[in-house]
Symmetry: C2
Subunit: 475 residues, 2 copies
């Protein structure tokens, strides 16, 4: 309790407590692993109701900042960020979601959200920048439309319609700083319009839950099963919006079943709820034709968002959102409040050039083939590593969910893999609600290792996993 | 009142009223020119206290959304933004602060904040992009540090120390989406830390006041005289922060006097107030050595912010802030909440290349010489146009404040100039508080016209101004 009291929270109610705890965790004042005292103790010491403490901690758990586990003390989770005082080392600071010390000694790193950065079409990109500068009207270098450059929005409208079945007029397209930038803007538009709560899939990316929670929205987890997010649970909630990954759920990799797609759309229409469709890797489907975007089912309720982070590189910071008419003014107002479009006009023109010339398609096709080979290699390598090991969610995208034998301890396996220099993400890091019945699992981003070492890395993973499982039994 | 009541405000108090009015104005539901009913009428119809209505309208006036004039009805101001439904025309939508219809038929456009976009060093930039892609570690294309690329922060630290006297360690530098992006982030950090009010110079840019107000801060105007912002008035206020343009005040062009610089710094230290130094054009000083940045006076209280928008192009969307230690965590947390650094890694590396290679310095020197010639031409052309016309604020930057004869009507002059196809900005658009005693003036961005037509444009302005003044007398 001391560390909490030392923070001298200006405790008024749940919001203030939540805010103070959030700041303390994000700033490192409450480091990862810190045990949070019981709600009873905290309530007594801080002079607030136990229910208030419980509600605040529940919200922080949803945002991924604390971990509430059955039969164990609530703890502060590891929040990946670099301490400002750390010396600058480009290579070490580049992996945003990786523990930098561990990454430095890693033999094979399957964490984070990067695609294979060595495959970025650098030469095409540099040429597209040069062409854009040579041919674009000079006025495009001025203060621009908050939605982004018209020429890119027109190119994206055609591309998204053709490849993802999205109904996208350029007027409703907003170019953003990646998917996260789009989510942050939409979260603010929601909060500014009086919405108070948003549903997310469970499991899902904590960083997205964190963006929503810190934008002032209460976050409600909705379970995911083999058919995707459970629309029945969604219908029983009273949320104002929901964020979903229908084409390829993060991190389970399941596809939203057809009846659930219909149920989701009709629920959204009935309740006038905003559906945020995160189509981060919709282009990277391996075994059959891509699952079309949900958005076409109801363009007035479903906001489609995509990104160049997986198809090109996260460092570009380019994403896009197709915004329902009803939300367009609110979204543009938020962008204005944040200082206008954050995306470089030159890079927007370069991306438009790649899309319109067909080079973007060619690059995506080539990456799809390369990632499919990786996927096949991974499945083959992990086949027979141990009974109870199953590779799931690999019909698309860059991530595999590797289910572990039910009697093994997920954390211990991840630690043992780490000792062998193999970095993976424990499934529980994606979970909001956890229980002793959870199947253990690890999430393997097989897209990230560089092409020249992926085969070795996969072999290393298989061997380390065999070794880790041999010695790991559930506590 | 009808149009207001029709909006069905969920009126609770001042904040709700302010928010609802702001949304109505930004979305165009209350178009420019709409008369706002008297506070008495509004209070009665909306069922709130007159003081509440008055306070809300005062705040909106500071943000530049309504104009309160002595002896006249309060009116909704023109808020420049493009309607989403408008057809896409790159050329017409590029000028963000310009009435697009007027701009289309303009003979000479001196509005907006653009520098001469034809002088963007496109070939250098394209080469720098290619070099960056060829030489940077591939990991820099991944999800990066929320503060931006280390290599650019190191380059900026050296550059700002050398050219602006800024004490800037790379660890405290944050790369932002232009100055507006930096201001929006700092405004959120302030609001999130319990700050409630921020002071701004009067006159100043309405778009900055709008960003502050819409971030949840009350905005307090502080008058500017010939020595810059009046620090005595600042000391009498109870604000948590202040935004200043000490090197070259926007739009008057005055430089903050040495005793005021000292007074500002010691006030900030005594009151523990954050000073946000907007050094948007500090590099473009013509007649003597640049005025060093204020920041070195107190690095723990003064946040320095600069931009590539004037030296290169606004479309790059690159700016930077040197953040006091005490504010660094809060600023980084806001960036995380907005989805991470919004600035392209590739363009950050390209800018670092230009800065480190000395090409950025050469470009700035060459632009400084070119803008100084424009400045001299403008002063010469307006000399003798009419008695009472004085060109002020031209020791630096891209803007001139042209004072008009005291007996003329500023609005009428601007309208007459517009009829002749000459676009300038009336001084009152920058003002928060206005009175019948205000000296009329126009703000002329002589940086914006393209190089091949600037001489003609200046001649056109001089001739149109002579004509306008001949027929324009104060109402």
């Amino acid at each position: 309790v001391d560390v909490l009291l030392d923070l001298r929270f200006p405790i008024g109610g749940r919001d203030e407590l939540e805010h103070a705890l959030r700041q303390a965790i994000m700033s490192g004042a409450l480091p990862a692993g810190t045990e949070v005292p019981s709600t009873r103790t905290l309530a007594a010491e801080l002079g607030v109701a136990r229910g208030t403490v419980g509600a605040a901690l529940d919200q922080l758990a949803v945002e991924g900042l604390v971990e509430i586990r059955h039969g164990a003390r609530t703890r502060v989770r590891h929040v990946p960020r670099r301490a400002p005082a750390v010396a600058l080392e480009p290579a070490a600071t580049a992996g945003a979601t990786t523990d930098t010390n561990a990454a430095a000694r890693a033999v094979a790193d399957f964490t984070g959200g990067d695609p294979d950065l060595t495959q970025f079409p650098a030469s095409w990109w540099a040429s597209a920048v040069r062409r854009a500068l040579a041919s674009a009207p000079v006025a495009t270098l001025g203060y621009g439309d908050p939605r982004g450059q018209p020429v890119l929005r027109e190119a994206l409208a055609r591309y998204l319609r053709r490849t993802r079945g999205v109904v996208a007029e350029p007027e409703r397209i907003v170019v953003t700083a990646g998917f996260s930038g789009a989510l942050a803007i939409v979260a603010r538009a929601l909060a500014g319009s009086g919405s108070s709560s948003v549903a997310v899939e469970d499991p899902s990316l904590w960083v997205h839950r964190s963006i929503l929670g810190r934008s002032g929205l209460a976050v409600t987890p909705i379970p995911v099963d083999a058919d995707g997010v459970m629309t029945s649970a969604l219908a029983a909630s009273a949320v104002d919006a929901v964020v979903v990954t229908p084409a390829h759920q993060t991190p389970t990799g399941v596809t939203l079943a057809p009846d659930r797609r219909a149920a989701l759309a009709s629920w959204a229409a009935d309740r006038r709820v905003l559906v945020i469709e995160d189509d981060y890797d919709g282009e990277l489907r391996y075994d059959r034709r891509p699952v079309p975007a949900l958005q076409a089912l109801d363009t007035s309720r479903i906001l489609y968002a995509g990104t160049a982070s997986k198809s090109l590189a996260p460092g570009l910071r380019i994403g896009w959102a197709v915004v329902p008419d009803e939300w367009l003014d609110a979204v543009v107002n938020v962008i204005d409040t944040l200082g206008g479009s954050p995306v470089s006009a030159i890079e927007q023109l370069a991306l438009a050039d790649l899309v319109d010339s067909g080079r973007y398609d060619r690059h995506v096709r080539s990456m799809r083939a390369a990632y499919r080979r990786r996927r096949d290699d991974l499945v083959a390598a992990l086949d027979g590593v141990a009974s109870g090991v199953r590779v799931e969610g690999v019909a698309a995208g860059l991530n595999a969910l590797v289910r572990l034998p039910v009697d093994c301890d997920e954390t211990a396996v991840v630690d043992r893999l780490g000792d062998d220099g193999v970095l993976v993400t424990p499934l529980r890091r994606f979970r909001v609600m956890s229980s002793p019945d959870d199947t253990p699992g690890i999430v393997v981003n097989y897209g990230a290792p560089y092409a020249h070492r992926i085969r070795d890395d996969i072999a290393t993973l298989a061997s380390a996993l065999r070794h880790a499982l041999a010695g790991s039994r559930r506590r």
